[in-house]
C-alpha cells in the first residue's frame, strides 16, 4: 500500500494541539524587545513632525524609529516585483491610511503599545480619493494583470456574436473589498547571531523573504536566514515579505538586540494585502439552445497609488466556456488605499462569482438546466489560448455532484418552496484554478539509522504540506512514512517556490520525489555515514513548458431565506473537485472545506467599510468585519473525481485555492431559486435582501 492517497493526520498535529509548536510570535529570546508599528491616520499627505521626546521617557521605551532616524533600505526588494510596502520608515510621504509612520520599541509589548498610542504625529494632509466605482474617471487599462498576465484577451467578432444571439444577457456584478484574517497574525522576530541576520517569520516562503531582507539591508544572501516552521494560515497574505520582518530587522540592527513585531488585526487591514473591490460587467450572447456565441467579461477594480496590482477577475473566462467570440478586459483605478494583493483564489474567486451567476441567469433565460448549459459549452481547447488542456474533468464533477446533491429532483422554478418563515432554494456554480508547477530545491539524506531526512524550503501554512511531502518521499523510497524526517521552512535549504497559487505541494512534491529517486540511485540500504543528494527542478520545469493545466470543481448549495428579516442561512454545501492526485485525503478535505467556508463568508458576510471623508477603515477588527461564524456553517460535503494528469509527474494539481471558487455564485443562485430575486452585489446581507423584497405573498 502506498502512502500517497491514504489519510494521515499532520506530523506536527500533536505539537500544535499541545502548544509545543512555536509560531513566530512565540519564539523566546534573551533581551527580547517589542516593536509596535504606529499607523498613519490620514490617507494622503506628509508627516510634518514626530515628537519622540513625548514618549521617550515612558516606561520601558527603548527607541522610536521613524523616517528621520531609521536605517536606509535598498530599493527594489520584492518577489517578482519591487514592493513599495517594504520601503518602511524611509520618507515622510503617506500613501494611505494605515501606513507605518514609526516603530516604537520597548521592553514589553504593553509598553510599546502604550507609547505608540501616546506618540504625537503631525501631518500635512493632501486631498485624497479612496472611493472605488466602476464609473471612476481615473480607470485605465493596465498592460498586465496579476503576475504578468495580459490584461486583455480577445478572439472572434464580439459585436457580430451578440447581434446573432437569440438570447443576450448584460449584467454587472460587484464584490466588495475583502480582508485577510488568518488565525495567526503576521509576526516576526529578528536578531543578529554570529554576524547573521536570523529571522523567524510567519510567511509562506522563507527563501524569498531572505532574498528580500538581503536586498533591503545590502547583505549577502548567506548572511540572512529566515525560518517559518509553523504558520497559522497565510492565504496569500504571507506569500511575500511583510512589514513585521523588515521592521523587526531594522530595529534589531539599530539596537543590537532581538526584536519582535506582531501585527494586530487593525495593522493587518492595511499592511498585508487584501482583495480589492470589483465591478464586473458580463455580456453573454447565446443561441436558443444555450450555445455561447459571444462572451465578454470586463472587470473594473482598484489598486494603490504606489503599486499596480490588478485583480485578474476575468481569467476564469480563459478556461471555462467555449464561445465563438471572446473578450476579456480589465481596468483599474489608483486610489489612496493600501496595496491590494493575493487573497485565496485571486481572480478566480470574484471572477467566478460574476461568471457563474451570469451562467445561472442565462440558463434561466434559455430555459435550460444550469448544468446542461455548462456541458453544452464545454470547450475542446482552452478558450483563452486555443491550446489543449492536459486534462479536463469538470463534467465528471457536475455529474457526480448532481447525483450526490439530488440536483435533478429540483424544480427549476424560483420562489415556490416554503418551510415556515423560510424560503428554500438550491443553486450551483463551477470552479477552476490553475494547476501549475514551479521550481524548488530539495535534499534527501540517507541517515545511518536507516531514516531519510528531507530538507526543502517549503512552508506548511496549516495545509498539511509537511505531511504530504513525507508521504511522497516515503513512496519514492519505499519506506514507511515514519522513517521520513521532514525539515522545512528554512531559507538555508535553498530556493523553493512559496506556498501559494496552489502550486506548493505539486512543486515541492516534484522536487522531493526527484531527490528521493536520486538518492535511491546512489544508495540502497542503510549507509555507514549520511549520504545527501540535492536536486533542483528548474530545468525539468522549463522542459515541461506552461501547459493548460487546471483543477476544476462543481459547487452546490441549499439555502433558506427569511424575506421578512432578510436572513440567509446556508443549509448544505457540496463541492466535487478534479484536483489531480490527492496525496492526503484527510488534509485535502480540510483545505477544500476551509475554502468553501470562506466562499460562504464571501457570499453573505465579508465587506470592509471605509468612510471617504476620513479614508481609513471603519471595521478593521473581528467584531466589525464579519466573517462566517461557526453557526453560519452547515454540513459541508466534499468529494473528488478521478483526474489523472501526469503533466506534473506527481499528478498533483493543488487544493488550496479552488475550494472558495464558485461558492458565492452557488449561494447567490440558490438565493434566487429560493426567492426569485437575483443578488448581484456581495455580500448578501439582511439589508440587501430587505431592499429587494420578492413578489407575491411573503409569509
Amino acid at each position: 500500500m502506498t502512502a500517497v492517497g491514504s489519510g494521515r493526520t499532520r506530523l506536527e498535529g500533536h505539537d500544535k494541539v499541545t502548544g509545543a509548536a512555536r509560531y513566530a510570535g512565540d519564539v523566546p529570546a534573551d533581551g527580547l524587545l517589542h516593536g509596535w508599528p504606529v499607523l498613519a491616520t490620514i490617507p494622503r499627505g506628509r508627516i510634518t513632525g514626530i515628537d519622540t521626546s513625548a514618549v521617550q521617557a515612558m516606561p520601558g521605551v527603548v527607541a522610536v524609529l521613524h523616517h528621520g532616524n531609521s536605517p536606509r533600505l535598498v530599493e527594489g526588494a520584492g518577489w517578482t516585483d519591487a514592493d513599495p510596502n517594504l520601503q518602511l520608515l524611509q520618507d515622510d510621504r503617506i500613501p494611505y491610511a494605515g501606513w507605518p509612520v514609526a516603530l516604537v520599541v520597548a521592553e514589553t509589548f504593553e509598553q510599546a503599545r502604550a507609547a505608540a498610542m501616546a506618540l504625537p504625529v503631525k501631518y500635512h494632509a493632501q486631498p485624497w480619493d479612496v472611493t472605488f466605482s466602476a464609473a471612476h474617471p481615473g480607470l485605465y487599462t493596465p498592460d498586465e494583470v496579476n503576475l504578468h498576465q495580459p490584461s486583455e484577451t480577445a478572439h472572434g467578432d464580439l459585436d457580430a456574436g451578440l447581434s446573432a444571439s437569440a438570447v443576450v444577457l448584460d449584467r454587472t456584478y460587484t464584490t466588495p473589498e475583502e480582508h485577510h484574517n488568518a488565525m495567526e497574525p503576521h509576526a516576526a522576530i529578528a536578531q543578529w547571531v554570529g554576524g547573521r541576520l536570523e529571522v523567524v517569520d510567519s510567511n509562506q516562503g522563507s527563501y524569498a523573504v531572505a532574498q528580500d531582507l538581503a536586498k533591503l539591508f545590502a547583505l549577502d544572501l548567506s548572511q540572512v536566514r529566515v525560518r517559518s516552521e509553523h504558520v497559522g494560515g497565510g492565504f496569500g497574505s504571507k506569500a511575500t515579505t511583510r512589514p513585521p520582518a523588515v521592521l523587526a530587522a531594522m530595529a534589531a540592527t539599530v539596537l543590537c538586540r532581538p526584536v519582535r513585531v506582531v501585527l494586530t488585526r487593525r495593522h493587518m487591514f492595511s499592511l498585508v494585502g487584501y482583495r480589492p473591490p470589483t465591478s464586473q460587467r458580463i455580456r453573454l450572447g447565446a443561441a436558443p439552445d444555450g450555445r455561447l456565441l459571444a462572451y465578454e467579461h470586463l472587470t473594473a477594480t482598484q489598486t494603490a497609488t504606489t503599486f499596480e496590482y490588478v485583480e485578474p477577475a476575468g481569467v476564469v473566462g480563459k478556461v471555462m466556456y467555449a464561445a465563438d467570440a471572446l473578450r476579456i478586459g480589465h481596468r483599474v483605478v489608483r486610489l489612496d488605499v493600501p496595496i491590494p494583493k493575493w487573497m485565496r483564489g485571486p481572480g478566480e474567486a470574484p471572477g467566478a462569482f460574476a461568471l457563474e451567476s451570469a451562467m445561472d441567469e442565462l440558463a434561466e433565460k434559455c430555459g435550460i438546466d444550469p448544468i446542461d448549459l455548462r456541458i453544452r459549452n464545454e470547450p475542446a481547447v482552452a478558450p483563452g489560448s486555443g491550446r489543449p488542456f492536459t486534462s479536463r474533468n469538470v463534467v465528471a464533477c457536475y455529474l457526480e455532484g448532481a447525483k450526490r446533491f439530488g440536483w435533478y429532483e429540483r424544480d427549476p422554478r424560483p420562489g415556490i418552496r416554503r418551510e415556515g418563515r423560510w424560503w428554500l432554494g438550491t443553486g450551483m456554480g463551477a470552479a477552476t484554478y490553475p494547476g501549475e508547477t514551479a521550481p524548488a530545491t530539495a535534499a534527501a539524506t540517507a541517515e545511518i539509522d536507516g531514516t531519510v531526512t528531507i530538507r526543502i524550503t517549503a512552508a506548511d501554512i496549516g495545509t498539511g504540506a509537511r505531511t504530504a511531502l513525507a508521504q511522497i518521499a516515503a513512496d519514492a523510497l519505499s519506506l514507511p512514512v515514519e522513517w521520513i524526517r521532514m525539515r522545512i521552512a528554512d531559507s538555508d535549504f535553498g530556493p523553493a517556490i512559496l506556498a501559494g497559487h496552489s502550486f506548493g505541494t505539486a512543486s515541492w512534491g516534484l522536487a522531493v520525489d526527484e531527490a528521493c529517486k536520486a538518492l535511491r540511485a546512489r544508495t540502497t540500504g542503510t549507509p555507514t555515514e549520511p549520504i545527501t543528494v540535492q536536486v533542483n527542478t528548474a530545468e525539468l520545469i522549463q522542459a515541461m513548458g506552461r501547459p493548460e493545466r487546471h483543477a476544476f470543481g462543481a459547487q452546490f448549495a441549499e439555502v433558506a431565506v427569511d424575506v421578512l428579516s432578510g436572513e440567509v442561512r446556508v443549509r448544505r454545501l457540496l463541492g466535487v473537485y478534479a484536483i489531480g492526485r490527492v496525496v492526503n485525503p484527510l488534509t485535502a478535505r480540510s483545505q477544500l472545506v476551509g475554502g468553501m467556508v470562506w466562499g460562504l463568508s464571501m457570499a453573505l458576510h465579508e465587506e470592509a467599510v471605509r468612510d471617504p471623508a476620513f479614508g481609513g477603515h471603519l471595521n478593521a477588527n473581528l467584531a466589525g468585519y464579519h466573517y462566517a461564524a461557526n453557526a453560519d456553517v452547515p454540513d459541508i460535503e466534499v468529494g473528488w473525481v478521478d483526474d489523472p494528469d501526469l503533466a506534473n509527474p506527481t499528478g498533483i494539481k493543488g487544493a488550496g485555492e479552488i475550494g472558495i471558487v464558485g461558492v458565492a455564485a452557488a449561494i447567490a443562485n440558490a438565493v434566487w431559486h429560493a426567492t426569485g430575486i437575483r443578488h448581484r452585489n456581495l455580500p448578501i446581507t439582511p439589508a440587501r435582501v430587505l431592499a429587494t423584497p420578492p413578489e407575491g405573498p411573503r409569509a
Binding site: A114, M117, A613, A628, A631, L690
Partner: protein, 329 residues
C-alpha cells in the same frame, strides 16, 4: 493602553469610596467592553476597581416571584437560571442571542447595562465623535450608519445602545439598584437611559460614581414572552433589529402587552405607542400591523438604515403573531 493600577475591594461601600476618591478610576466587571475600549484608547482609566468580589453574584427570586439579580452575575449564569428560563423566557433568549459563549461567561449584568455603543467612529480616537469627544461632530450622519438608530436619535448622535439583555429588561419593567457615596438609589429602567439630546456623552441617569449593585424584575406578567433578534450572521453579531415582547390574550383580545425594541434607538426602546394601540384590540395580525406601524411612524431613518423600518415593523408583527398562536388566540 495607558498604565493603570488595579484594586479589588471587598465591600460595596469600599468600592464606591475608592471610585469617588479617584476621578480617573473605573469599575471593572467582566472587562469585555471596558478592556477593549482601553486597548484602543477610548477609555484611559488610571485605576480599575474590580467589582466582581463584592458579593453581587446572586440571583434570588423575591417573595412575590420577581427576581433580584446581582450586578456581577454573569450573562451565562443569568440566562440558564431555572426561574429566568421559566418565567422570563425573553430575558434568557435575549442574553443567549448576544456575543459568544466565552464573552457571556465573562460579561456581567452591570457591565451589560453600561456597555458602550458599537458605532465605528466612537471606537476610533483619530476621528470626531460627539459621544467620545463632545462637540467634535457626528460623522455617522453623513457616513457609515447602516446599523444606526431610526428612533429617538438627535443630530448630535445617531448611535444605538447595543445590548440585547436590556431590551428584555425594558419589556419586564426592571429597576436598576445602585449604591452612591450618599447611599442606595433605585432607578426604573424606563428612566435609566437619557434621551440623546445634545449630550450623547451622558448616557444614563446613574449618579456620579454610583456602583450598580443589582437589577430587580417584578413578577412576570401571566403571558408568554419571546425575544427575536436579526443580525448579519447567525451568531456573534449585534442586533440589526430585535424585539422582546410579552402578550396576554383574553377572549381573543389583547389584555396586556409589552414590546421593546433593540438595534433601533439610542437606548433599548419601549414601544409604548404600539402597546397603547393594542390594548383591547383583537389579537390579530391586522391589529399587530397597525400597532407596529403606529410605533414606527415616528422613525427617522437615514439613507443607509431605511431597511430597519420595515424590518422592525415586520418583526413586531411576527413575534406578536407567534405569541398569539402560543396563547391559543
Amino acid at each position: 493602553m495607558k498604565e493603570f493600577t488595579y484594586v479589588r475591594p471587598a465591600a460595596v461601600i469600599e468600592a464606591v469610596t475608592l471610585r469617588a476618591g479617584r476621578p480617573g478610576s473605573r469599575y471593572l466587571a467582566g472587562g469585555t467592553n471596558l478592556v477593549d475600549l482601553m486597548k484602543i484608547g477610548v477609555e484611559q482609566p488610571d485605576e480599575l476597581i474590580d467589582v466582581t468580589g463584592l458579593g453581587m453574584d446572586r440571583i434570588e427570586t423575591t417573595l412575590d416571584a420577581g427576581l433580584r439579580i446581582g450586578a456581577a452575575v454573569s450573562n451565562s449564569d443569568l440566562a440558564v437560571h431555572p426561574a429566568v428560563r421559566q418565567d422570563f423566557a425573553a430575558l434568557s433568549q435575549a442574553i443567549l442571542s448576544g456575543a459568544s459563549g466565552q464573552l457571556r461567561n465573562m460579561a456581567t449584568v452591570g457591565g451589560n447595562l453600561l456597555q458602550r455603543t458599537r458605532c465605528a467612529y466612537f471606537a476610533d480616537i483619530s476621528l470626531p465623535c460627539n459621544k467620545r469627544n463632545p462637540g467634535s461632530g457626528c460623522p455617522a450622519l453623513a457616513g457609515e450608519h447602516h446599523n444606526h438608530a431610526i428612533l429617538g436619535w438627535s443630530e448630535h448622535c445617531v448611535a444605538t445602545h447595543p445590548s440585547d439583555m436590556v431590551v428584555a429588561l425594558m419589556a419586564y419593567d426592571a429597576t436598576v439598584e445602585a449604591h452612591t457615596p450618599s447611599g442606595p438609589v433605585r432607578i426604573p429602567i424606563s428612566d435609566f437611559y437619557r434621551p440623546v439630546a445634545d449630550t450623547p456623552h451622558l448616557e444614563t441617569t446613574l449618579p456620579e460614581h454610583a456602583l450598580i449593585t443589582g437589577v430587580t424584575v417584578p413578577p412576570a406578567p401571566p403571558a408568554s414572552s419571546r425575544y427575536r433578534k436579526v443580525r448579519e450572521r447567525a451568531s456573534f453579531a449585534f442586533a440589526t433589529g430585535s424585539v422582546a415582547a410579552a402578550l396576554t390574550v383574553r377572549a381573543g383580545a389583547v389584555h396586556a402587552v409589552r414590546i421593546a425594541l433593540g438595534g433601533a434607538a439610542s437606548h433599548p426602546w419601549r414601544a409604548s405607542t404600539a402597546e397603547a394601540a393594542l390594548l383591547g384590540e383583537p389579537a390579530t395580525e391586522d391589529s399587530f400591523a397597525k400597532a407596529a406601524a403606529a410605533e414606527l411612524a415616528e422613525a427617522r431613518p437615514l439613507p443607509h438604515n431605511q431597511y430597519k423600518v420595515a424590518l422592525l415593523r415586520d418583526l413586531i408583527v411576527a413575534v406578536l403573531g407567534d405569541l398569539a398562536v402560543e396563547a391559543g388566540a
